[in-house]
Symmetry: C2
Subunit: 283 residues, 2 copies
């Protein structure tokens, strides 16, 4: 059983979340309330983190993220994290499914950036980490476009044009719009030789904790390796793996603070069994 331990650390990050989000002011009492901590505890935690340089007390009712924390994130990026977290999964996926697998994200110009790949024996796609390709004609790209907010998706569609790279490339704006809606509904995309001849690809989204599409995972292969009959089972497997990745990057943990020592404060709690631990005998 996954046992989240070291509660103080959890509390510390709860406070940091408060500071970073800054909602509702960041005074000690307000943060204590928001994190369900005692003022004493919140204060202890904050002064500790201040001494560590993690937090700066910039004035009454004002705390800010400190240089120590900034330094931790300076070299880190979501992209590189995703690449390294996904690497073992991509590798397993490629081995078991005998496909070439990719992870990619959309950049600010609607280009697909490939972050990691794991090729099966005879890979033909020349993707390298950092490479960028057009979004409209690949599995990854279609999944990522389908995950955009409606206004952004429309702005992409309006921009065009969508030159044909093969005879199957979707080039008409309205066809592409329809395709993206279908991808949304299905939960995965299928690229049937739209970018390269004889290259098919199934792709699924990777969501963050709020459900937004932050990346995509794909498996590709030649038409022979990937008959259409295989698509739906592959999509299922990919979805499973995408969820694994998502679970790694965005764990959904609800650590509970609250010790028995605490006075019951929320009155709506029914105090049925006032003392369930029936007076433990003092040693």
């Amino acid at each position: 059983m996954a046992t989240p331990e070291i509660k103080s650390v959890g509390k510390a990050f709860a406070l940091l979340d408060c500071i970073a989000s800054g909602e509702g002011g960041v005074s000690l009492p307000s943060m204590a309330k928001r994190c369900d901590l005692t003022m004493a505890t919140a204060h202890r935690l904050l002064t500790t983190m201040e001494a560590l340089g993690v937090v700066v007390h910039t004035g009454p009712g004002e705390y800010a993220i400190g240089t120590r924390l900034l330094g931790l994130c300076r070299e880190a990026s979501f992209e590189s994290l995703l690449a390294s977290a996904a690497a073992p999964i991509l590798s397993r996926l490629s081995r078991t499914t005998r496909t070439t697998s990719h992870i990619g994200v959309l950049d600010s110009e609607f280009m697909v950036t490939y972050l990691a790949r794991c090729a099966s024996a005879h890979a033909k796609i020349p993707t390298l980490p950092g490479n960028k390709l057009e979004a409209y004609c690949s599995g990854l790209g279609k999944v990522l476009l389908a995950g955009l907010s409606m206004p952004r998706r429309e702005s992409y569609l309006a921009e065009g044009p969508f030159p044909a790279l093969t005879s199957r490339t979707i080039i008409a704006q309205e066809d592409l719009a329809r395709e993206l809606s279908a991808v949304c509904r299905r939960g995965f995309a299928f690229d049937d030789c739209e970018m390269f001849e004889d290259l098919r690809c199934v792709a699924v989204p990777i969501h963050d904790q709020s459900g937004r599409v932050v990346a995509a995972l794909s498996a590709s292969g030649s038409c022979r390796e990937m008959p259409k009959s295989r698509v739906s089972s592959l999509a299922e497997e990919l979805t499973r793996q995408a969820e694994t990745i998502s679970g790694k990057l965005f764990p959904r943990t609800a650590i509970n603070f609250r010790t028995s020592r605490t006075k019951q404060r929320s009155a709506h709690d029914k105090p049925t069994h006032q003392d369930d631990r029936s007076g433990s005998p003092a040693p």
Copy 2:
């Protein structure tokens, strides 16, 4: 006496530093050793942080900064931190010295970016947070240029030109070079109406924990308000305040882990770096 408490948090950040710096590999045993922690403790801390999304275990011997931490830093920046941390100090400084005080940093193009200011009654300098001005002719700028590494300083000097803004502006490359060296030696800069007529300015560097100049603090006023006889005492006061700011942003804390329960393991380790700065006698 500032009492750093909640040791687990300190240990957690020690581990995070290891991960972020990545030196010497980031396997559990190596980090435990580097942070002087038991494997059990390091493991507990790491799994806790993994459950929180602060850290991701990307593979054997590989840990990475997680999305939770990335999210904390997304909106934060050194500049805004500096601005808010310095605000109360600028305000006090302006009040007690009856000057206009500024904080600024150098951007990638060697321009001074003003981050915060606090004006005395009748301010004349039209600086606003975010404004940029040339570096060669202001107190802040000269301090910041003097704090550059020698190659970068020379590349700035080589670039030129340095148009005269007043009759006193230093416009010759070799004069400026000499001036910057002098600023380095003295530890502060004096701008004697080099940017605006009748505007003098004293500026001092703000250092990070490693001694690098990361920002500068200045006080300015008219020639009448700031006779040359005042310069050195003002520089002293500014230096004191700069150290206050630096201490707030880059606390030098040496929290000691190690409980008495621990077996003495490495006797040669003596990491108790005593505060070298004139220690105030403890009460």
